[in-house]
Symmetry: C2
Subunit: 376 residues, 2 copies
């Protein structure tokens, strides 16, 4: 669904908004009260092919940081996630589901450990800052919680490594996935992490001085001229094909981490203490009642999924589509869906009910999609 | 600023979204991860005149409720706001700034007291739910905090009373400003409050069953046919003329309540305990360094204020414009602004610097604007 967006100061600009405006951004989304570019001149499919072949700059400044710093920072970080952080070292990034007291998902940030007493949660769309601050206040912890002047810029695509190395040096080539280096840039030390919301490879640069936004963008832009660098944004086709989840779409507070297949990030055996542990243990003992699954959906390109589409077996609702789009790779519509336990086995034939009443045949697949998924 | 909005399930629909779509909504904003209609076929100025003469239905379902219920509900509510709640009785609505430990504004909700142990914060754009829940958890309070299935629908304009009385009975006529009644509607008891984000009079109906959304909208719509009822939304001209503040525009976490003239909602003399009190006392002792003021700005209709515009005296920046628009009533641009202490006296001539480099003459006024403001 696309329609007019009426913005005001309440929808914060990023240090890169001017840059994407000058490059013809034609649509935004709002994430964390901040503008996220969502479309440029090209179609989503043209953008998808470009992302898979070249390199793109993404203004993901909306990925705000929740900084925990001080003697109790590590304690608070661990309270906030069921993932075991005990072996995490400075320079690492962890994908960390954050849950409430009922094991409902509050956010699914990437956690960066800057030092033993210094963490950044790089967040999806909810005010995790308020959660962290109020916990610190209510529990009387010795930690400063704030949103620093940090604005990620993503460089994504197969040529991202070449481009980032030109600007930050060849050291970035040896950075492992979900690790980061600190790199010089105009007298600042910027976190440069090998990460990002695509499976095409790339980096996220955590600019910590908004006044340098245009300089950073322009430096990368100019260095990438011969690499066909283009402005971009998280690509709906690419992320669904890759099985990348989106907070607010695939998961909300109504969901627990087990339902969306985050079992490996849920510490349930050892002694680690975190909010929601007893609720999560109870769910784990029972087993989740639904799971995130892929769907291969018949028919011509489906409309955008602006609200959950029912998934049926016969007349019975057995789940819902959370995101869907036409996949050029599979030459079929692909979707992400939450499917009830009795029907979640890959290969199960189902029906998807569109808002206009049309029904499309579909088949359940495992995630991420694989070539064999298309011929179950 | 207006451009494409790319939405997904993450931007929640309200029980009324279908209704506004069928009536030709042409633009949305996002508030609390929820769609807020912001424009229909008419211009903002046509909409303004209609609002001042007739009656409008506003889909303000994005005003989500943070419900506190249980033995410690009153204690938690008081912790969250500097306003003294000790004399509040069930059936009352209070405007309640919510501040953090540094007296920074987290939200400026309307608080509804349903019962001695049952409150709703009807919130502006930030996830106050996370703040309230984490406080309850960290402080180990005996209170359930949740977002109930409640979706306000506003009826605003001089004919609102007639329209609401037709649907809910003449009892609503005697409801005082910022009080509410419970009224029968399809076997439910709905909170009907005399309140709303305009100064034209009206009500907010707190529908507590999303399945009845279309029924409620249609019932009001049909009852108002001869009253020229129209779909509408908070009107930028009307709210600026009335001096109504918007969280995220006029105030952010960078601001304390005294800066935006909320002194009368800040309990500083008695014994009431709330978060941020000592910080607020320190600010009050010193006096705020800036204040919210009106501006009457010269020239032809100004562009939309998408980012803060500097306010200058000579070459010195003395403040910023937070919202501005052409006022048909004053035949002049009107703005809201934060102005430094040494320059905030009404009548002070200043200059407003637009993003394109143009400078406009302006004069500082008190708020709300009055007819005499236009001839200071």
């Amino acid at each position: 669904m696309s329609s007019g967006l009426v913005t005001s100061r309440r929808n914060r600009r990023t240090p890169y908004t001017e840059c994407v405006e000058s490059l013809g951004v034609s649509g935004f989304s709002i994430v964390n009260h901040t503008l996220l570019p969502k479309s440029f001149a090209r179609s989503v499919e043209e953008d998808y092919w470009h992302l898979k072949e070249h390199v793109q700059l993404w203004d993901v400044g909306c990925q705000r940081q929740v900084e925990l710093r001080g003697p109790d920072a590590a304690l608070l970080a661990q309270k906030m996630t069921p993932r075991d952080l005990s072996a995490m070292t400075p320079g690492q990034c962890y994908y960390t589901p954050v849950i409430d007291n009922h094991a409902g998902l509050l956010n699914d940030p990437v956690l960066l450990k800057r030092a033993s007493d210094w963490f950044w949660f790089s967040i999806a769309d909810s005010d995790l800052l308020l959660w962290a601050e109020a916990l610190a206040l209510g529990m009387n912890l010795d930690v400063e919680v704030r949103e620093p002047d940090v604005w990620p810029l993503a460089v994504q695509g197969p040529r991202a490594e070449d481009l980032v190395a030109r600007v930050f040096g060849d050291g970035v080539r040896s950075v492992r996935y979900f690790s980061f280096l600190e790199c010089d840039f105009h007298s600042r030390q910027l976190v440069v992490a090998r990460s990002g919301y695509s499976k095409q490879g790339g980096y996220e640069i955590y600019l910590d001085d908004s006044a340098l936004g245009i300089t950073l963008w322009d430096t990368l832009w100019e260095a990438g001229a011969d690499l066909q660098v283009a402005p971009g944004c998280p690509n709906l086709i690419e992320r669904i094909e890759a099985g990348l989840l989106s907070y607010g779409n695939e998961m909300t507070r109504e969901n627990n981490p087990l339902e969306i297949n985050l079992d490996r990030f849920c510490h349930l055996e050892g002694e680690i203490d975190y909010i929601g542990r007893s609720a999560l243990e109870a769910i784990a003992a029972q087993g989740p009642s639904q799971r995130m699954r892929g769907l291969l959906i018949d028919g011509t390109p489906c409309p955008p999924c602006g609200k959950p589409w029912p998934v049926l077996v016969g007349d019975i609702k057995v789940g819902q589509v959370t995101s869907a789009i036409w996949s050029p790779a599979f030459r079929q519509n692909v979707g992400l869906s939450l499917i009830d336990k009795d029907h979640w086995n890959p290969g199960t034939p189902v029906t998807v009910l569109l808002p206009d009443g049309h029904e499309l045949g579909a088949v359940i697949t495992s995630l991420p999609f694989t070539v064999s998924s298309s011929t179950p």
